[in-house]
Amino acid sequence: MARITAGVCTSHVPAIGAAIDNGKTDNEYWKPMFAGYEYSKRWIADQKPDVILLVYNDHATAFDSNLTPTFAIATGEVFESADEGWGPRPVPNVLGHPALASHLAQSVIQDEFDLTIVHNLHVDHGLTVPLSLMFGQPKQWPCRVIPIVVNVVLYPPPLGKRCYALGRALRRAVESFDENLNVQIWGTGGMSHQLQGARAGLINKQFDNDFLDRIVDDAESLSKMPHVEYLRQAGSEGVELVMWLIMRGALNQDVVQKHRFYHVPASNTAVGHLILENK
């Protein structure tokens, strides 16, 4: 049977992708941030996941104001890197896992989560930056990836508790898949940041560090935090953090924290990163 063995959370700032693509990871600005992912690269090389359920948000790339699914899952075979206005990131195509993805879709809909099913979509920095942070710059990504897309652009995003419950449903669905697969789930986005208006540049280290504490061992209560609290305390774009709750819901109640990293700034954003293994 397929099993979820571990979860990873990370911010997905586009400037991180640009730093990698332009060979700037060693400069004074970026070096301390990339240092926080050195352990992670070694860890994932040992873990060798077969499939990653990669929870991210589309940034007006594959979806626009004409179509805004609250939750979507992509069941296609190949996902190309999107042109977000400055040409596509030079990263390998992302290979999907159509059999598991359609199994997940059919399962969770019957478990009361009415996901939108997408076949092909172009994936933006929200999905490719986490892959680059964890795997570096390989010729091919070393595993399959199932994009799970969450609307956090048009208010309201799904509630935190709904995200947490979706994680639990995804876990049940993974465990009912017959093939033996080592599956990880990643939650991406955040941490505190605001990209708009006179309050742009907001960072809240205390909020972020409390969130990093609580998502490990107090996630159920954390999942009840109202949206307005994220918006007010972590910035208008900080509400992306609800996506981490999908990751957390898919893991055991008891987890081992293998790695924790926090860094300010990456462009306008606070970078947070956790690796959790099921006990």
Binding site: P14, A15, G85, Q196, H227, P265
Partner: protein
């Protein structure tokens, strides 16, 4: 009954909700068109003519021509859509964000290096806004 909008008292912040999305639909869809290189070229060749193909308000068009991002946001623009405009201009997210704050690029970049804008005094309208 009116929708509950508990976020309206957050200073310096516009939440892209259903009302804003309705107001900004054509502005945002214009932005999406800039994801294609040929459209970026056409826009750059004659911005006004390109904008006139879209059923946007004159205020929205002027906001785009002036690259006034706060104005565009107040007229329903969302930052991830508006990003297609400043990306077409070859401007980074950080530089674009700085233009919305009344700070110079250098001041804004330094504020981020120093740990970002403090949340102190920046959570409720009427707070003594700092930074």
């Amino acid at each position: 009954m009116a929708l509950d909008k508990p976020y309206l008292d957050i200073p310096g912040t516009t939440i892209f909700d259903a009302d804003m999305a309705r107001k900004g639909f054509h502005l945002n869809q214009f932005c999406m068109s800039l994801m294609k290189a040929e459209n970026r070229d056409a826009f750059k060749a004659d911005e006004r003519a390109y904008l006139n193909h879209w059923p946007m308000t004159e205020e929205q068009k002027q906001g785009v021509l002036d690259r006034n991002y706060n104005r565009m946001i107040s007229l329903g623009g969302n930052i991830y859509f508006l990003a297609k405009i400043f990306s077409s201009d070859g401007i980074s997210f950080q530089v674009a964000a700085s233009t919305m704050t009344g700070m110079s690029q250098a001041e804004y970049a330094q504020m981020m290096l120093d740990g970002g804008r403090s949340v102190e005094g920046n959570t409720y309208k009427g707070d003594n806004q700092n930074g």
